[in-house]
């Protein structure tokens, strides 16, 4: 246990990097995902096609490969950025199709009569989606979105394999330095991850229970 307390500043430094990755990549993924989801339901066929292809391709690429591209191929192609920025780019691109799918399934979950009613009142596409469908989809979207962010939290650890000094990297270094206390060191790292994932998970489950019944 002493290992953890002795190295608490390093743990906290790693944890703050993990949080940065989570927040920046989360917001960026939310923006890209929303754009993709909007394209996916739009009336323009080529936008729909593009969004569908993007979703399928990115979803079926392993995160390791995406981050490899960002951390090693992009510099090779002449892009100069910090590794943490590369990791943020990779994580947000990788997470965006999952966000888009969560949004889309929420929109699809709104009963069709709602959209029909809105249409029959003479609302246009933007009005139907903006005033009627989206507010209802929103509450169905939040629990799956939180689950996407929980997955993102866990995925930030992969960035540790690509030169970003975050919680996982700190754990690896401390485990190498303290060969006699590997389990304690890694349990410490796990605790920090659980500090984010478990409250989020409980929050999502509670919202789900509350909102599913309300419908």
């Amino acid at each position: 246990m002493d290992v953890i307390f002795d190295n608490l500043p390093r743990y906290l430094a790693g944890f703050s990097m993990t949080l940065q990755l989570l927040v920046v990549a989360g917001i960026a993924a939310l923006i890209i995902g929303t754009i993709i989801a909007t394209m996916r339901i739009s009336p323009v066929p080529s936008l729909r096609g593009f969004a569908a292809v993007y979703t399928e391709l990115v979803r079926n690429t392993p995160l390791t490969l995406v981050l490899f591209f960002c951390a090693l191929i992009l510099p090779y192609l002449g892009v100069r950025l910090e590794y943490s920025v590369f990791a943020m780019i990779g994580l947000s691109v990788y997470t965006s199709p999952f966000v888009a799918e969560a949004l889309r399934s929420g929109i699809n979950g709104v009963p069709i009569g709602q959209a029909e009613a809105a249409r029959s009142l003479g609302l246009g596409f933007g009005q139907t989606v903006g005033y009627v469908v989206f507010p209802q989809a929103f509450r169905m979207v939040i629990p799956p979105l939180i689950n996407v962010f929980i997955a993102l939290t866990k995925n930030t650890s992969v960035a540790g394999g690509f030169f970003v000094v975050e919680l996982f990297t700190i754990g690896k270094e401390l485990a190498n330095a303290n060969g006699n206390a590997v389990i304690a060191v890694l349990l410490g790292v796990a605790t920090f991850y659980l500090l984010i994932t478990i409250p989020l998970g409980i929050f999502a489950a509670r919202l789900e229970k509350k909102w599913v019944v309300a419908r």
């Binding site: 339901i41 009336p43 323009v44 066929p45 080529s46 936008l47 593009f50 399928e56 391709l57 079926n60 690429t61 392993p62 995160l63 390791t64 490969l65 490899f68 591209f69 090693l72 191929i73 090779y76 192609l77 002449g78 929109i107 699809n108 709104v110 069709i112 959209a115 029909e116 249409r119 246009g124 596409f125 139907t128 989606v129 469908v133 929980i150 866990k154 995925n155 930030t156 650890s157 992969v158 540790g160 394999g161 996982f168 754990g171 690896k172 485990a175 590997v182 389990i183 890694l186 790292v189 796990a190 991850y193 659980l194 994932t197 478990i198 998970g201 789900e208 229970k209 599913v212 019944v213």
Partner: protein, 310 residues
């Protein structure tokens, strides 16, 4: 919801507008792709004043004419699939065990299992791999297989538990009243049904598992990415980095898209089979009987006390 309800059946004007937009967007996308292509294909000056050829130059791709390269890549594919298959079997077994333990009667079994499952599901797979690798000095292969098996086992267990919870209570009661033991009822009556109901979710999780074997790259298991991007690229030099990346990406896409396609097919297949079966049963022969059935079903769903799942 089909997208078409969101907007009017387009008239001639709107159809023209949509067509024009579609073409404009299509051209923009193609232009973007072409722009990417030209950037990649452009020869790039390097630090020493030498100009390196573009990414699509034949000199960057000639390694693939060598059959040994393909043999090596195939080795990576096999190791990826091997780890994925072993982890999948382990995950399925653990999933059943976890689901059994979590639905156990005694709280002494249920509570610790819940805590362990929360712990396993809340921490990154990569950390678990490192844990097994360093904590048990097991070698990279077992680190990958055990960590993926444990993590996905927890998720599959949760799915199976949800499947068990959504079964009609009568299934279990009927099994017990026939004289089967608790465990027999679980294994012979309930699990097969829960498994079938959750099959699409389980297969989707196995796709995730296949993707996650790539984490072996970080803990040093020579799976596909490590074989191509690390071993081959350092053997043949950085010149081929992009080419190896492109080939790896294509191989992964082929594997994952095939499995996803199977998952989707299964989901559609089982879904339509179930729905078809139900529809066949629910054809009202006698209106009075149909009403009785419907009210019985309504009462059952009330008594089930499980409005969320239904």
């Amino acid at each position: 919801m089909s997208g078409s309800v969101l907007f009017d059946a387009p008239g001639p004007k709107a159809r023209r507008l949509s067509l024009i937009l579609s073409i404009v967007v299509g051209i923009l996308i193609l232009a973007g792709l072409y722009w990417l292509y030209t950037i990649l294909a452009a020869p790039r000056p390097s630090s020493g004043g030498i100009t390196l050829p573009g990414m699509f130059d034949p000199s960057r791709w000639d390694v693939f004419a060598n059959p040994d390269v393909w043999t090596f890549i195939w080795g990576g594919v096999v190791r990826t699939l091997q780890a994925a298959a072993a982890a999948a079997v382990l995950a399925l077994i653990l999933g059943v065990v976890f689901a059994l333990l979590r639905t156990a009667k005694s709280a002494w079994i249920r509570t610790p299992t819940t805590v362990i499952l929360e712990f396993v599901r809340g921490m990154p797979v990569l950390l678990m791999m490192l844990f097994i690798l360093l904590g048990f000095s097991s070698g990279a292969y077992w680190a990958v297989v055990l960590a993926l098996g444990l993590y996905n086992g927890a998720i599959i267990g949760e799915a199976l538990r949800a499947g068990l919870a959504s079964l009609p209570r009568g299934q279990r009661e009927a099994g017990l009243s026939l004289g089967l033991r608790e465990l027999q009822t679980r294994m012979l009556i309930e699990f097969p049904q829960a498994f079938r109901q959750m099959l699409p979710i389980i297969v989707a999780q196995l796709v995730v598992l296949l993707k996650d074997t790539s984490l072996g790259y970080i803990v040093g298991y020579p799976e596909l990415i490590r074989s191509t991007m690390n071993n081959l690229a350092s053997f043949y030099g950085n010149r081929y980095l992009f080419s190896f990346f492109a080939v790896t990406l294509v191989i992964y896409l082929i594997m994952n898209l095939t499995l996803s396609w199977v998952a989707r097919w299964l989901s559609k297949h089982t879904d339509s089979a179930r729905r078809g079966g139900k529809a066949g049963k629910e054809v009202p022969v006698d209106p009075a009987l149909a009403i009785a059935q419907a009210s019985a079903a309504a009462r059952q769903s009330e008594a089930g006390g499980n409005p969320g799942a239904r």
